[in-house]
Symmetry: C2
Amino acid sequence: MSDNLTAGPIERRKTYELVAERLLGLIAARSLEPGDSVPAERELVEAFKVGRSSVREALRMLESRGLIQSRGNGTFAVSEFGNPLHESLALLVAVDEADERELFEARRLIEGETAALAAERRNPAHLARMAAAISAMEGGLDSESTYIDADLAFHLTVAEASGNRVVSHLMHAIRGQVQLALGTAFLVPGGPQRSLEQHREILAAIEARRADEARRVMHDHIQRVEREIHELGRRR
Amino acid sequence: MSDNLTAGPIERRKTYELVAERLLGLIAARSLEPGDSVPAERELVEAFKVGRSSVREALRMLESRGLIQSRGNGTFAVSEFGNPLHESLALLVAVDEADERELFEARRLIEGETAALAAERRNPAHLARMAAAISAMEGGLDSESTYIDADLAFHLTVAEASGNRVVSHLMHAIRGQVQLALGTAFLVPGGPQRSLEQHREILAAIEARRADEARRVMHDHIQRVEREIHELGRRR
DNA sequence: TCGGCGCTCCTTGTCAGACAACCTGACAGC
DNA sequence: GCTGTCAGGTTGTCTGACAAGGAGCGCCGA
């Protein structure tokens, strides 16, 4: 028995944590597929030999991470990708001026790469959806919500076409953070028209499988939007 | 009353969710600074007029996101940046073969851009720490844990030198996901030596402020590691 | 004077039991 | 075929009780 001291403090783990880990294990091991129902609380009580409150607190931990969902008639495993990440980012990054700049920079980098990947991997269905989104933007030049929805749809389709879910999740997360600013972008005189034109360029580059061009135009697009928002903010 | 049906189901919120939101509000509003103690459970019971179990389940939700910490003599707000994001990603992305590919691809893109930014923004202190990390890797070629720690330190320093906290958080998160694989990388014959050499190249590019070169070498580095891990896995 | 020991009190941790609220599916009645 | 109702299982919530953790205080002895 050399130095068991380095093993760190002997910590008595809390029951609800242990239960949460066991359940997490089940999910990680795919014993609990999305949609499956988690054993009833009372069953877990018997299985783990703990109190019901410990089981419930463990379930709450998983629920708050979006892994399961309790619904009155049972608790179920959930697929729902993405939500917790958004919230985490929201809490990580305060949205003062400097951080907004960092967020936009991150968005520029990631969406730029996303566009480049999309140019290599897109299929005809993706192209059709991007074109549809552009049409919708055109038709929604006088309606903020229509326009913004269509704009979002375009970028999401690009993300999907990239074929990389991790990258596209990160993009979602960041976009959620700058969403407010994007509402402002609609108010910039001539902004929506310029965005529309740039979206057409992006689509053309992706359709022609020109990855570098897609990346560059996407960069320019996001940078322009950021600049316009910033200038509008200063003028007010 | 046209179609209020689109408003979705009327849902009765659960008490523990409401409590969690109230507490979240306090944190978001900075009424609860890191280190501050959260009011005792029984006080919250009185304040919100709910049962203690609801309060406790709400606390568990916040605890599992790393916002607070319960310690037997009180519950405290926590600063700890970054952790929840790691966990979220951990839970978001399943780690089967295909996903591992996506994770590495994401890492390649993000760390590539991180390196490019670092080349533009690094300062002498960053360079010194990168050099120190490389020395440590060299000295740790026969110790897996020493080597891996040093490798991690190098990449983290690059991230910090990028000057963009959002990007560097994303990088942390993804890296946490591939950490396991990186342990394997150490076992690849000649792998650590090649990594060491590539790290030197990255440092040289960053020091010389050659952004494109830094990006390219970082790309090559990560791609090589991924390939080696994959080949080792197949041979086993 | 000062270090250390133990006590006390407040807090969280855990369990058990009870009842309300919710959801689904089955079934009877129209 | 449609609707209303009921039953059974599950989660939602509260209460009360006691164990266990942790910090601070004061007493005691050196």
